[in-house]
């Protein structure tokens, strides 16, 4: 074995000596050299390609290292910002989210860059060493071939021809040629292919790098824009702080709330699908759910297509929303709160004015009645009737008001009864204890039917506001009808005296029953006067009319006094042949009553709303004379049946109730001298009534003042895109319209991105009758 190794070694040495010899001969020009220009060009390209590949790898590694450094520096900067950021500053969570997303982007970019470029480069470069070795081997084989070729030529040209040696040399030449050709062919195939493949390699490498960078830069750009906006808002918050105490927590609270509602604008299309099932699962219990709400929620407010010219911010926000999808639900949850608070406060404001207004005039009306009682006379009896008088007065006022409305408006009362039954009237329950079973039934029925009506109307007020436009229309009609009916009632009073009689009796009979006990004491003073006076039935009826007229005089307006005088003259001419001289005092009162009806009609026709208030004012003073009328009427009853008086002393309450059953005959026997007494009492009652009227008038003024903005008005918005209403309850908008926003009734609608509002121009023109409807919030921009 040792010998064999020595042999191989010797052989290699021999080969090297031969090659060196050949090289020297070629250099000296004594031996020609086989050349292949084509192949050398390939080798040249190969070397260049290898160099470029190595350089690219080196640069790419440096580039990726720089990206890594950039990533680290960016993370440090983000962390630094996060540390200095204080919890009460705007956008704390946003900054954290942006920072995390930024870090994730950098990490992702770096990782993908490594995967797609470094690995590819390494694979590409591993081809070169192998090919390099083969190229070197080919060079050596070429030299062997040349050497063998020259050897053969030498033998052939020598003088001593040794055929045997020539044959051997020839054999060696063929062998060398075959080996060389094999290598040469292989390399000639591979090198051009490799050279061409560099194009594909470069294309894929730089394509990957540039596309990765393109996406990375685009996404980072959005994050930076988001951070920029947060900084802007922080600057706004900061500008406020310049003028306030640093540590005041209340200052920063409202600022956050004010900004919270704005993000849901972009969030609305995403939230609409979620809102739809909520609506289906939870129907609104306070009122009947709208039949069209589900379709609206499913559709959601349509997104306005961005105009081509300036969609920059709006569109970028969309991009940012995709990135921060998880962050917005929190904001959506927060946004409803500020809307609910103002709604509640507005509701409180609406209710407060009603209670004191309704109670004040009644109180004023009652006190004069008590004061007019002749305390000097029948002190003991006066004490007892005083309490029932107060209750009776209060109840009488209500009864008279609704008595007239019930009589004149049959349809309305029918609709009202179900509500009345449902509500219940506590005073009615207390009243029966004071009366006998029979009158109890009548009294309870009348009071329940009439008095609760007012409560129903009062309750309708808030409901009307909450209802849809249809509800508003219905309420308007309801208000209009009672206004017109009472006018009709007053009309007959003016023209035919005969026709008026039955209505007067009907209207006055219910209140006459209740205050009977009060009238006992004044009646006792007048019996003698009644007997002495003798008046025709017609005269008595006219006197009743005159009693009503002074009650309504205070309502009259100054501007309408001149037509009153003219009417006075005409009325005198008509009545002069009928009436006697002693009744001259009654004439001016009657004339006054006829004039009142006419001026009352005019304001009613012009403005439905103002009519409601005057009607209430007119009706209440009308109740007072009804209370007074029965007093003189009861007097003769007390005088004639003396045994009746004795009975009443034993059981005053029961006897009083019995007397209530006979109101009609007592009216006929009214004495003439009682007129003076009535006049005095009317005078006393007039001034407090006027005070009540003033209060009511003030209420009217207050109501008018508040009509500058709709009830529970929240804020104004400007329309940015045309919105075409798809449902009757939607509000049609044109770009540029100003809308007054009021609270939305259904939480689902608001969550879905809808607002309820009235167009400003419509409100200014039509007031409360202006159309109120839903519209998508993201089509508008809030004004401050």
């Amino acid at each position: 074995m040792a010998e064999i190794k020595t042999g191989i070694f010797a052989k290699n040495v021999q080969k090297r000596i031969n090659r060196a010899q050949e090289k020297v001969l070629q250099k000296l020009g004594k031996a020609d050299e086989t050349k292949d220009e084509q192949f050398e060009q390939c080798v040249q390209n190969f070397k260049r390609q290898e160099f470029e590949g190595s350089r690219l790898q080196r640069e790419m590694k440096a580039y990726i290292a720089a990206v890594k450094g950039m990533q680290q520096a960016s993370m440090n900067l983000t962390e630094s910002l996060h540390e200095v950021y204080e919890p009460d500053w705007h956008g704390k969570d946003d900054v954290m989210t942006i920072g995390k997303n930024c870090d994730a982007l950098w990490e992702d970019f770096h990782q993908k860059l490594v995967d797609s470029t470094i690995n590819t480069l390494e694979t590409y470069l591993t081809q070169f060493p192998d090919l390099k070795v083969r190229v070197a081997k080919r060079s050596r084989k070429l030299i062997d071939y040349d050497s063998a070729r020259h050897h053969l030529e030498t033998l052939q040209t020598s003088t001593m021809r040794n055929e045997k040696r020539i044959a051997k040399a020839e054999e060696d030449l063929k062998k060398a040629q075959r080996v060389f050709d094999d290598l040469n062919v292989g390399l000639q195939d591979e090198l051009p292919t490799l050279w061409d493949s560099r194009v594909g390699f470069y294309v894929s490498t730089f394509k990957n790098v540039s596309s990765l960078e393109a996406r990375f830069h685009r996404e980072i750009s959005f994050l930076c824009h988001k951070l920029y906006e947060v900084m802007n808002k922080l600057a706004e918050q900061h500008s406020d702080k310049m003028f306030t105490i640093q540590g005041a927590p209340s200052d920063s609270g409202p600022l956050r709330l004010a900004r919270t509602p704005s993000p849901p604008d972009d969030e609305s299309p995403d939230s609409s699908p979620a809102a739809s099932p909520n609506h289906t699962l939870r129907p609104t219990s306070p009122g009947p759910p709208r039949p069209k709400s589900p379709s609206q929620l499913k559709m959601g407010p349509p997104k306005p297509p961005p105009p081509k010219v300036t969609p920059t911010r709006e569109l970028q926000q969309e991009q940012i929303i995709d990135l921060f999808d998880g962050g917005f639900p929190e904001i959506s949850v927060t946004s409803p709160q500020p809307n609910e608070r103002p709604g509640e406060s507005l509701l409180d404001l609406d209710f407060d004015p009603f209670k004191p207004d309704t109670s004040t005039p009644i109180g004023q009306t009652q006190s004069p009645v008590s004061q007019t009682l002749p305390w000097d006379l029948w002190t003991g009896d006066a004490a007892q009737p005083a309490q029932p008088a107060t209750d009776a007065g209060f109840t009488a006022n209500w009864a008279a008001d609704f008595g007239s409305s019930a009589t004149t408006v049959t349809d309305e009362s029918a609709n009202t009864q179900p509500a009345a039954d449902g509500q219940g009237w506590p005073p009615a329950d207390g009243w029966p204890t004071d009366s006998t079973p029979q009158p109890q039934g009548e009294t309870a029925t009348d009071e329940d039917a009439t008095v609760p009506t007012f409560m129903a109307d009062f309750d309708k007020m808030p409901e009307a506001e909450a209802e849809a436009p249809e509800g508003d229309v219905a309420e308007g009609e309801g208000e209009a009808s009672p206004a017109s009916e009472p006018e009709g009632g007053e009309g007959p009073v003016t023209t035919p005296p005969t026709d008026t009689q039955p209505e007067e009796i009907t209207a006055s009979s219910p209140p006459a029953e209740t205050p009977t006990s009060t009238v006992e004491s004044p009646v006792s003073a007048e019996p003698e006067a009644a007997e002495q006076a003798e008046l025709p039935v017609e005269d008595i009826e006219k006197e009743q009319l005159s009693e009503e007229s002074p009650d309504s005089v205070p309502v009259q307006e100054t501007e309408k006094e001149s037509p009153t005088e003219a009417a006075l003259a005409s009325v005198e001419d008509k009545e002069s042949p009928i009436e006697e001289t002693p009744t001259i005092d009654a004439k001016p009162e009657e004339e006054t009553s006829s004039l009142e009806a006419r001026p009352g009609d005019e304001p009613d026709n012009v403005e439905p709303k103002p009519t409601d208030e005057p009607d209430k004012v007119e009706t209440q003073p009308g109740e007072v004379p009804d209370n007074i009328e029965p007093k003189p009427g009861d007097a003769p009853d007390n005088v004639e049946p003396q045994p009746g008086d004795e009975t009443s002393k034993e059981g005053a309450a029961n006897n009083g109730n019995e007397e209530e059953k006979m109101p009609i005959p007592s009216v006929v026997i009214e004495p003439a001298s009682s007129n003076e007494g009535d006049d005095d009492r009317d005078g006393d009652i007039t001034s407090p009534i006027a005070t009540g009227d003033n209060g009511m008038i003030a209420d009217c003024q207050t109501t008018k003042d508040s009509s500058g903005m709709p009830p529970r008005f929240l804020f104004k918005v400007e329309t940015m895109h045309d919105f075409e209403a798809a449902n009757p309850d939607e509000l049609e908008l044109k770009k540029g319209d100003i809308v007054l926003v009021v609270p939305t009734e259904l939480a689902e609608d608001q969550d879905a991105g809808w607002l309820t509002g009235i167009r400003e121009s419509d409100w200014q023109q039509r007031g409360a009758s202006a159309k109120k409807g839903l519209f998508p919030e993201n089509f508008t921009q809030r004004l401050e």
Partner: protein
């Protein structure tokens, strides 16, 4: 003269030494609890805020400078990478001028970004931090004056309570107390005014710094995105050119082989003819399912009706293949160029491409 000069210097030195001794004595007495110490809790809190603010500012500055350095490094590496590409690029290849132009633009973008970052963020940060040393020195001075004031106050108190009532001494002590108090209060008042203002100004600084950085980054990254998009488009077209070029390459290879064979025949003519021929390389191209320039797919989320002739009508649910804009100037923010997948699958052409709003779609 020499004595006079020495005397002045010695006097100052003695005075300073005396001051230090007095302050040290006062400090010791305060520590032992024998002398009450004037405390200002509010001021101490402000000093704490000041220190915190200074630390935060310093850290932020350091991070910002590191960031700037990373940007610079990134710039250099990017530049070399593009130089490498430029040298490799053969003039015959598609888009030689565009690639060079993109390389220059990229270089300019990086340079501009770096310079603006330096101007807006780092320089203002340096100016902001320059305030701190001066105020720090003044706070230290205030503390020394506070000790002097306390010392004078205690001295005055002890003199008053002394058994020997020396009016001259009392008057002098009172005068010293007044002077110390005046000096202290002047410094204290100034600092009381400045510290809160400085504390509040940090908000403004942070807002400006990060708004500048994020604004610059937004612009820079957006432009870089466009440039890289263009480069990607050129690479795509180069790839197309390469596929077409393969036929020419094959023919060239054939000629080369023939030349080689000819050489061998010449050398071996007397003895043996050539037996070898290079095998011909055949390359076939296969059809791809998608157009070569497709960037990504998006799904339509909302119906979109085209308002211009160059826009694409979309229905919710449509899949769109997003294409690069032929001319970068045509690209508007928020709009994409694309063709419906259904149209491509049927017709295999891009004739029906159009622009559409990106926010109506969602990336797949």
């Amino acid at each position: 003269m020499a004595e006079v000069g020495k005397g002045v210097n010695a006097g100052k030195l003695a005075s300073n030494v005396q001051k230090r001794l007095t302050r040290a004595q006062e400090k010791v007495m305060q520590k032992l609890g024998k002398a009450d110490e004037t405390k200002d809790t509010a001021f101490e809190e402000q000093v704490a805020n000041f220190n915190k603010q200074m630390n935060e500012g310093t850290k932020l500055q350091k991070d910002l400078k590191a960031y700037l350095l990373a940007v610079k490094t990134m710039h250099e590496c990017s530049k070399r990478l593009h130089d490498c590409l430029a040298e490799m690029y053969d003039p015959e290849w598609f888009g030689k001028e565009e690639v060079d132009s993109i390389a220059e633009d990229t270089d300019l973008l990086w340079q501009d970004f770096h310079e603006k970052l330096l101007d807006n963020a780092v320089i203002s940060m340096d100016a902001y931090l320059a305030q701190f040393p001066d105020i720090k020195a003044r706070i230290a001075k205030r503390e020394r004056k506070l000790v002097d004031f306390d010392s004078a106050r205690h001295h005055f108190a002890s003199v008053q309570k002394g058994k020997k009532k020396d009016e001259a001494k009392i008057a002098k002590a009172e005068e010293d107390l007044g002077r110390a108090q005046k000096v202290f209060e002047e410094i204290n008042y100034d600092l009381q005014e400045e510290l809160p203002t400085l504390w509040n100004s940090r908000v403004g600084l942070y807002v400006n710094t990060f708004r500048s950085v994020s604004g610059l980054e937004e612009t820079f990254h957006r432009d870089m995105g466009k440039l890289n998009q263009n480069l990607s488009d050129i690479m795509t077209k180069l790839e197309e050119q390469r596929v077409a070029k393969k036929g020419v390459t094959t023919a060239s290879t054939g000629k080369s082989d023939d030349a080689a064979n000819h050489n061998q025949e010449t050398s071996d003519a007397p003895k043996s003819p050539s037996k070898n021929e290079a095998p011909t390389v055949t390359n076939g191209s296969s059809d791809t399912e998608l157009p070569p320039s497709v960037l990504f797919k998006v799904k339509t989320m909302h119906d979109y009706s085209a308002t211009d002739s160059d826009e694409l009508d979309l229905k919710a649910g449509d899949i769109v293949l997003v294409l690069p804009f032929a001319n970068p100037d045509e690209a508007d923010d928020g709009w994409l160029m694309g063709v419906k997948e259904s149209h491509w699958l049927q017709n295999k052409n891009l004739l029906a491409k159009g622009v559409f709003p990106e926010n109506f779609t969602q990336k797949l």
